[in-house]
């Protein structure tokens, strides 16, 4: 139960809004953080916390692509496929995943580590092609960096190539000019 585990956090979230229902997406995130996806049990519990009916939670949860109602791999590779990334070769990135991990769109590797999805614009068009892995952005992908990201994720669970506070073009480059 979320309530037992996160009582304080839940109360804090609900306190931000004058109307309880506003806390719905934040609580769905909380449930997703807890289990890796949002289960029916979690939706029912959230409904109770926010005084909603389960269908009201369900309709909201299914509207948003970031709420996973099914289990996904430990690393959710979300490759941007919108035009701006496609101009920079994002389709190739999807191919890399397919050949290197043997999974197609919407599939998860048998070891449960990676799930691949092509997603729409993630607001990183200047640094295309790019992908988001769980919370982190990886930009200006090349085959080399991509290999390293996969290897690091497998080995360390994270990768230093993830993008920090974003700025492009980077300031030093500008100063050199």
């Amino acid at each position: 139960m979320l309530k037992e585990k996160y009582q304080k956090e839940i109360d804090e979230i609900i306190s931000r809004y004058p109307v309880r229902r506003s806390a719905l997406i934040p609580l769905l995130y909380l449930a997703q953080r807890d289990e890796g996806f949002v289960s029916e049990a979690a939706m029912k519990e959230i409904a109770g916390l926010l005084r909603l009916t389960p269908p009201q939670v369900y309709e909201t949860a299914t509207f948003y692509t970031m709420i996973n109602l099914k289990r996904v791999g430990k690393f959710h590779l979300q490759v941007c496929k919108s035009l701006m990334c496609a101009l920079a070769g994002s389709d190739t990135v999807v191919e890399w995943v397919k050949t290197k991990l043997g999974i197609g769109l919407g599939e998860t590797t048998t070891d449960g580590l990676f799930t691949l999805n092509a997603v729409e614009c993630l607001a990183a068009c200047g640094t295309a092609p790019m992908m988001q892995v769980n919370d982190d952005y990886y930009e200006r992908l090349t085959e080399q960096t991509f290999d390293r990201i996969l290897a690091d994720l497998k080995q360390h669970g994270t990768c230093s190539l993830k993008t920090g506070p974003f700025m492009w073009p980077e300031a030093p480059m500008r100063n050199e000019k």
Partner: protein, 434 residues
């Protein structure tokens, strides 16, 4: 040195600038707030913004001061400020940089706006994928709270403003201001029909202002340096100030470039973004995010201001400039954008919901060389039937790529169809006419 004076990106261009409260204050931050709180009446701040000519940077370009002025004057009760950080318009990535590199500039803007409109609560609606941005904003809010800029009795003037970060969860439509409000209320992000407008019936049905991040970031500068100064930048009187343009696609140096409004696309693309990435010349560009109709090399000397771009048959929109080189398959490009709009159509109203699925399927067929000549007429017809008949502006947006590419590059569509016919591929005969 950049050719033009930077305003919004100035701090972050300084080597070593971290975006912390300390750095921001050292760069002159929160002076605007100190200047007005308890000294200038709220209406005075609105007056400055009106005078500055500041227009919304989210896409529609609505005058910010006027938007604030629409709030009912004698209203007693909660009012809300919602900061639109849902940055989802393909081709746009400026807000992300403003948030992650200089969060206090935005917070100060939020505080000024709240002060002006008399709101005690601001929600920053940030797209769910910006996990880092949300974290940075939350840290900045905590810093500002400790320093007495956020919370109750701000700067000892008895004013209360609380700021909360609210993450979206993956829906382009939530950048539309009423869909944003619905989403913030914990519902599906479906746009509301207007009127009534958020100014009177917004968040929780209370008077609400929704402003874009870049719009808010301009406020401290307008207050500190004066509306006249701001109004003198760019291409007055209708397009004042700078804009952070996001250049993507086939250029040497894609990225965010802050220039005064009114510079030409040629300058932005060839001087700032370093020109085309190879020896291939420019074939097409989108001037203001995926919702803006495509333009051609003939439009390179169009000025980057609201009116000029509109006169050229497109829109300045969110400032996302995407450049395509010669050799780019324009029909494929239009299809890619259509795929985006199909995926993101919320499904509320019939023309958009059904139209996007229809358009995308027809486009897929044409690109897959299974098109027919009459498809072109159908495409145009469908686009016209969507335009102006939807609940929100998504309808206009989704037809822009097809309408504009058909206008400028019809021959490419025709070629694809002719190839289809020549190859004598299976003709898709309608199974049933209905």
């Amino acid at each position: 040195m950049p050719k033009h004076e930077l305003i919004l990106l100035k701090n972050m261009m300084e080597p070593g600038y971290t975006g912390s409260l300390h750095d921001y204050e050292r760069a002159g931050g929160y002076q605007a707030l100190r200047k007005v709180v308890g000294k200038v009446p709220p209406a005075g701040v609105t007056g400055m913004v009106m005078k500055s000519g500041l227009r919304g940077r989210g896409g529609a370009g609505f005058p910010t001061g006027l938007k604030w002025n629409f709030l009912p004057k004698d209203y007693i009760g909660p009012k809300y400020l919602c900061c639109n950080a849902d940055e989802s318009e393909p081709g746009t990535f400026k807000d992300r940089q403003l948030i992650e590199r200089d969060p206090h500039q935005i917070l100060e803007g939020i505080l000024l706006a709240c002060y002006a409109i008399g709101s005690e609560t601001a929600y920053i609606y940030i797209r769910g994928e910006f996990v880092l941005g949300a974290k940075i904003l939350e840290q900045a809010i905590a810093e500002a709270r400790t320093a007495g800029y956020i919370g109750s009795n701000i700067l000892g003037a008895g004013i209360t403003v609380n700021v909360w970060v609210h993450r979206g969860a993956g829906a382009y439509i939530c950048g539309e201001e009423t869909a944003l409000l619905e989403s913030l209320e914990g519902k599906r992000g479906l746009p509301r029909f207007k009127p009534p407008f958020p100014a009177t019936n917004g968040l929780y049905n209370k008077p609400t202002v929704v402003n874009n991040i870049e719009t808010l970031a301009n406020l401290p500068h307008i207050v500190v340096r004066g509306p006249e100064w701001f109004a003198s930048i760019g291409s007055p009187p209708k397009s004042t100030g700078t804009r952070v343009f996001c250049v993507s696609g086939h250029v040497k140096q894609p990225g965010n470039y802050e220039v005064p409004m009114g510079v030409t696309f040629r300058e932005l693309i060839y001087e700032h973004a370093g020109g085309m990435r190879s020896d291939k010349s420019l074939k097409a560009f989108i001037p203001g995010g995926a919702s803006a109709p495509f333009l051609t090399p003939n439009h390179l000397d169009v000025k980057l201001d609201f009116e000029s771009v509109a006169a050229a048959g497109s829109m300045l929109g969110s400032g996302g400039v995407t450049v395509m080189e010669e050799g780019t398959d324009i029909v494929w490009a239009a299809l890619r954008l259509m795929e985006f709009f199909y995926h993101e159509s919320c499904g509320k109203c019939s023309p958009c919901r059904e139209g996007s699925s229809w358009l995308v399927q027809t486009m897929r067929r044409i690109v897959a060389k299974r098109g027919r000549m009459e498809d072109l007429e159908t495409l145009v017809d469908l686009c016209k039937n969507i335009e102006g008949r939807t609940v929100c502006a998504f309808g206009e947006a989704e037809v822009a790529p097809i309408m504009s590419t058909l206008k400028h590059w019809r021959s490419e569509y025709v070629t694809l169809i002719q190839e289809a016919e020549a190859a004598n591929l299976i003709k898709l005969e309608p199974a049933v006419r209905h």
